[in-house]
Amino acid sequence: MAALSIKDLTAIAKKTKESMQISAQGPHTKITVHMGTCGIAAGAQKVMDSFKEVLEIVDKKDVILTYSGCAGLCSNEPMVTIERYGEKPIKYINITPKIAREIMKQHVQKGNPLKEYIIAKGYENIV
């Protein structure tokens, strides 16, 4: 890979934003499993695996499955964020593989969030 110029930086930013973008036609949902050391210790890898398993069966094109570092609330890991097109991202806490499968079925596929496992929706205060 050739060294980047500043223009390339802007192009990468644009391209990545587009590819991670959820939309009405493209992938409509983004699933983020929070996988810092704390999350993994609480079982986030198993949660990730169970999302992957379900995605093997259902249509993968509709969903972006990704991961990030710790979301902050370590006592309630594993945490998962689900963002559907046109809705604020929703944060789930204390997720098990079983709940993950349920989230896939109800929230991701049908658009019915599972309120009992949700802490909140929306964005953090990034200044």
């Binding site: 060294a3 980047l4 930086l9 930013a13 983020t32 810092g36 990030s68 604020k88 909140a120 990034i126």
Partner: protein, 513 residues
């Protein structure tokens, strides 16, 4: 069917309506993210996603629109202070290294993080490694350095893997290496694995360890910014300090210095642990009160227990009592209270915590982590440990409190490095705020919190006992006598004070005193 008449939009609204907004949940709503700006929203192993969130834009600005002296000036004006412990003015450090002569110059990132209960730096690297890399590169540009090191704790395998991967990606994009972004600036970063001792996080010990020597502190005759690593000009900053740099350069010093208190600008990341409902990693504005952190963000103390103290600053810090909960959390106020900011560990303690025992724990930690070079730190902590042990065993003498104070002051005076000069803090602060508790141990041979085993007894409260026999069945030492329909009796000379009967009795019929 009624709901078939509802429009799709209203239906959708209904489904998410009752879910609270993140901002109305205090744990999230009270936080302001700068160092943790990308937590939970980018894949830490994708440099593209970092770039998509303004990543490397600050470096681009630093290489095209700003001169190296401008970068130093911006950091100076932001009043950013080091997040690794001492709170030293970052801009002054950079300015000194920029002015110093000697080639090559070094940028070191301190990711040793040895404080018990602290994991801020691990989390930053795991969530957003490029923010640290970009901050280091900007420092390199500012001081005229071409090489950096990240000194990372061996116990952090995931952080090291993620950082290593990030460095490779940055190199592949030419964001590290020769002529970064078509400029004349070249810079690369290498990982050095920590030697596993708490003291290796101290600046001179850390440099010795990178140089391949034993990671022990040395006397500071020179300024490290002039004669640091291999006697060359060196800037050493903490992970969180570096993570703050890109936003400051991108948004300007004023943007940053508008936040926080008079002498402590911006935010601070804390790991909130111990007896607290919401354990986690938080970032708050400097100046937030301890009460807000513990009771709003942290959700208070679990199981209906009362708050007793919060320990900040790690082994070098102190315990802050309830009467000071409304103090502002910043560098000055924490020092005034006899504690310190430290790197951001915050351990919350409830009514069941014995402050003598807490002091003993931290002295034990420092005693085993002392490099042993200077007598005051090595033998002084040993002597303190002896006294604290004796107090906790009910063998304390009246004069022990004065002795602890004198020893503390002597150790502060005479020790070589920060470990020694700060190790008495947990003792001094508990003596300052919880002296009665020491006296109870010494004079009345009582541990009010019911922690020090030598000083507590377990007895059956006859009026509460339902004669169920659960204590009898659970006692691993067969120290309880019980027969059906009879009140249980604890045989004191057989009791090992494990406390299991106390835990299993549902009727509060076991008294711990």
């Amino acid at each position: 069917m009624g709901d078939s008449t509802m429009s799709k939009e209203t239906k959708k609204k209904e489904k998410t309506q009752t879910i609270p907004d993140l901002n109305s949940v205090p744990f999230f709503g009270r936080q302001i993210l700068i160092a943790l700006r990308n937590r939970g929203r980018i894949n830490p192993e994708s440099i593209d996603e970092y770039i998509a969130h303004d990543g490397y834009q600050a470096l681009a600005k630093g290489l095209t629109k700003l001169k190296p002296t401008d970068i130093v000036e911006q950091i100076k004006q932001s009043s950013l202070r080091g997040r690794g412990g001492g709170g030293f003015d970052t801009g002054r450090k950079w300015a000194s290294a920029a002015k110093a002569t000697g080639e090559p110059k070094y940028v070191i990132c301190n990711a040793d993080e040895g404080d018990p209960g602290a994991y801020m730096d691990r989390s930053i690297i795991e969530a957003d490694p490029h923010s640290v890399i970009e901050g280091m590169a900007l420092c390199g540009r500012a001081i005229g350095s071409t090489v950096g090191y990240v000194y990372i704790r061996a116990e952090y395998p995931l952080a090291r893997k993620i950082l290593g991967h990030a460095l490779e990606q940055a190199r592949a994009y030419g964001l590290l290496g020769e002529n970064i972004l078509d400029s004349d600036f070249s810079f690369d970063i290498f990982i050095k694995q920590g030697a596993g001792a708490f003291v290796c996080g101290e600046s001179s010990a850390l440099r010795a360890s990178i140089e391949g020597n034993v990671g022990e502190p040395t006397p500071k005759y020179d300024h490290a910014t002039e004669k640091g690593l291999w006697k060359k000009p060196t800037v050493l900053n903490n992970v969180e300090s570096f993570a703050n740099v890109p936003p400051i350069i991108l948004k300007g010093a004023q943007w940053f210095s508008a936040m926080g208190t008079e002498h402590s600008k911006g935010t601070k990341v804390f790991s909130l642990v111990g007896k607290i409902v919401n354990t986690g990693l938080i970032e708050v504005l400097m100046g937030t009160t301890l009460r807000d952190i513990i009771f709003e963000i942290g959700g208070g103390i679990p199981d209906g227990k009362a708050f007793k103290a919060v320990q900040t600053g790690g082994p070098s810090g102190g315990c802050i009592p309830e009467s000071l909960l409304d103090m502002s959390v910043d560098f000055e106020e924490l020092s005034k209270a006899g504690s310190m900011m430290g790197s951001g560990g915050m351990i919350v303690m409830d009514e069941d915590t014995c402050m003598v025992n807490v002091a003993k724990y931290f002295i034990e930690f420092c005693n085993s982590e002392s490099c042993g070079k200077c007598i005051s730190c090595r033998d002084g902590s040993e002597a303190m440990l002896e006294i604290l042990t004796r107090i906790s065993e009910g063998k304390g003498k009246e004069e022990d409190i004065t002795l602890l104070e004198e020893l503390s002051n002597a150790i502060k005076e005479a020790s070589l490095c920060g470990l020694g000069t700060s190790l008495p803090n947990p003792v001094l602060s508990t003596l300052r705020y919880f002296k009665e508790e020491y006296q109870e141990h010494i004079v009345h041979k009582r541990c009010p919190a019911g922690v020090c085993k030598a000083l507590i007894t377990f007895t059956v409260l006859e009026k509460n006992c339902t004669k169920c026999g659960v204590c009898f069945k659970n006692c691993p030492y067969e120290a309880i006598t019980w027969k059906k329909k009879e009140i249980a009796v604890i045989n004191q000379n057989q009791c090992k004070k494990c406390g299991i009967c106390y835990e299993v009795c549902k009727f509060k019929a076991i008294e711990r005193k």
